[in-house]
């Protein structure tokens, strides 16, 4: 009986294995095709500009033009723009986290009238296209004389609902015992929040931080509007500067695109867990 069963199952098993193998190979091919644009970006970043199209489908031109990277660095105020981008993304993410923790705390620990309605309105803004707001926001910045400034780049987009929503979810599942203990020990509300709750929220805070960082890092429309001085530009605006009147200088441009993509790649590889968590809770709403 046992022998017969094994006999019956074995052929099917190996059939499944072959299927699985083909399936895996096909998936590898799909993955390779999917990554092709990045491979091409890298290949082009090392081609002399006059050979970018002449070299056809070949990954390599007559020589490796490493100088594209130095050209990219000097063609635009690259260092300055990079510092701007890092600063804006970092401070923006920090501010987003602070705002999210505070408002999530208010929404989950304070009882006040209309709390549910207010939270509902708050959540509804997750589906509000920010593009709708850019004109009044620009006029506001103009009135305040903040066009071409860091606050203009950072402030308007630190108040989205996603972070608050995510952190509130975690706060609701956190028993209030710790806080009560801390309050009994005589700690103030703020003290309790900072030294008791925030450490417990490390995981969701990391998620919110990473998402905000990526949003600021890649943001295009708003910097395009509120910055018109190369010294205040962020990387996405910098990339745009490579298309001049003489046409596009593809070699250095792709070198710059590569440099800008590297931090994003690092984030994807190193912070997979945070990204996957955040995405399934509505982060990046419909990009």
């Amino acid at each position: 009986m046992t022998a017969e069963t094994t006999h019956l199952i074995t052929p099917k098993r190996s059939g499944l294995r072959a299927g699985q193998l083909i399936s895996r190979i096909l998936m590898c091919v799909t993955g390779a095709v999917f990554l092709f644009p990045f491979v091409w970006m890298l290949a082009t970043s090392l081609k002399p500009t006059n050979e970018v199209f002449a070299s056809g489908t070949s990954f390599f031109a007559s020589r490796l033009e490493w100088s594209n990277y130095t050209t990219a660095w000097t063609a635009i105020p690259f260092g300055r723009i990079l510092v701007n981008s890092i600063f804006v993304a970092f401070v923006g993410a920090l501010l987003t986290v602070t705002v999210s923790v505070l408002s999530a705390y208010a929404f989950s620990r304070f009882e006040f009238r209309g709390r549910a309605a207010l939270f509902g309105a708050f959540l509804a803004t997750m589906v509000l296209p920010q593009e709708v707001l850019i004109i009044p926001l620009y006029l506001m910045m103009q009135k305040l004389g903040m066009v071409n400034s860091y606050p203009a780049l950072i402030l308007p987009f630190a108040f989205g609902a996603f972070g608050t929503f995510l952190i509130r979810q975690f706060l609701l599942s956190l028993p209030p015992d710790y806080e009560e203990a801390a309050t009994l020990d005589g700690a103030s509300r703020l003290r309790t929040l900072v030294s008791v709750i925030v450490p417990l929220l490390r995981a969701p805070i990391a998620v919110v931080f990473v998402f905000a960082f990526i949003e600021y890092w890649g943001s295009f429309l708003w910097p395009l509007i509120v910055v018109n001085d190369a010294d205040m530009a962020t990387m996405p605006i910098g990339l745009q500067m490579f298309s001049g009147e003489r046409g596009t200088d593809w070699g250095p441009l792709m070198a710059a695109v590569t440099l800008v993509a590297i931090p994003s790649l690092l984030i994807v590889v190193l912070l997979q867990k945070q990204l996957q968590q955040g995405v399934s809770m509505g982060g990046f709403g419909g990009r």
Partner: protein, 275 residues
């Protein structure tokens, strides 16, 4: 809370007010009532085109995105384990890299003499002028956006699939259901809330499309790939018509809210919540 009011609620209402004015970037605004809306609907040559383009883009982008993302997620589920998580991350990469960079890479590849056409030439096909012919330009826009955005839905659907009770799948396997029947009878219904969520998010994202046409086709040729947000941006910041741009913003806002509301009201037809 104050920030929320200052940077979201007030601008939203202000933009409605601005839409009733002839409002230049510099200088004095002048109240014109509904003139901006009248001009937009009857005088503006680009409004209806960009609205139509946005809708075409949204329909194709959302439909293909969901079908392909769902297919890939199901495939990855069957591969399982490390393979699934590795490829999920791989497909997610372009979601995280800056969109403008992604668009520029596609502009390079889809150039008349670009690598795509050279590959086609190698197998004897003469490729079209991807970015300079109306239909192909829209197709390019959709393709580039799919490449950019699909990974998002693959991750979300992957998380949804991971939540499906594996014993239910085993049971259906034992009952003799093949992979296709299993997909439509078991996986799809159990995944429908996640799919619903993805649809809502993808449609909203599609209506906001801006960077892709801006960098890939500049809305052209002509107005063939002009979209509402691109039209809004140009009116506001190139043509100095902030009032008209705000009217466009409100059209976008109302449209997105309406479509989302309709989707919610229709969800009973196909979304199953108890599992």
């Amino acid at each position: 809370m104050l920030g929320f009011a200052i940077f979201i609620v007030i601008p939203l209402l202000t933009s409605l007010v601005i839409s009733f004015f002839d409002w230049p970037l510099f200088g004095t605004p002048e109240f014109v009532g509904l003139e901006n809306y009248r001009y937009m609907l009857t005088g503006d040559p680009a409004f209806w085109v960009s609205l139509r383009n946005t809708i075409i883009f949204a329909v194709f982008y959302t439909a293909v995105n969901l079908v392909v993302a769902l297919g890939l997620s199901y495939w990855l589920m069957n591969l399982g384990g490390r393979w699934a998580s590795f490829f999920r991350v791989l497909f997610f990469i372009p979601v995280v890299t800056p969109m403008i960079g992604n668009a520029l890479i596609f502009r390079l590849m889809l150039n008349d003499d670009g690598v795509i056409n050279q590959m086609l030439a190698a197998i004897g096909i003469e490729g079209p002028q991807w970015l300079n012919t109306p239909g192909w330009a829209m197709l390019s826009l959709v393709m580039m956006s799919l490449w950019q955005g699909m990974g998002y839905n693959i991750i979300v659907l992957g998380a949804g699939i991971a939540g499906i009770n594996s014993s239910v799948l085993e049971a259906s396997k034992i009952d003799g259901a093949g992979p296709i029947v299993r997909f439509f009878r078991v996986v799809f219904p159990m995944l429908s809330p996640t799919i619903f969520f993805c649809t809502i998010m993808t449609v909203i994202g599609a209506f906001k499309v801006f960077t892709q046409p801006y960098a890939l086709t500049e809305g052209g040729p002509g107005n063939a790939t002009n979209t509402i947000v691109l039209h809004l941006y140009r009116n506001g910041f190139s043509f100095d018509r902030l009032g008209l741009a705000s009217a466009l913003a409100w059209v976008l806002f109302v449209l997105v809210m309406l479509i989302t509301a309709v989707q919610f009201s229709q969800q009973k037809r196909w979304v199953t919540y108890d599992s």
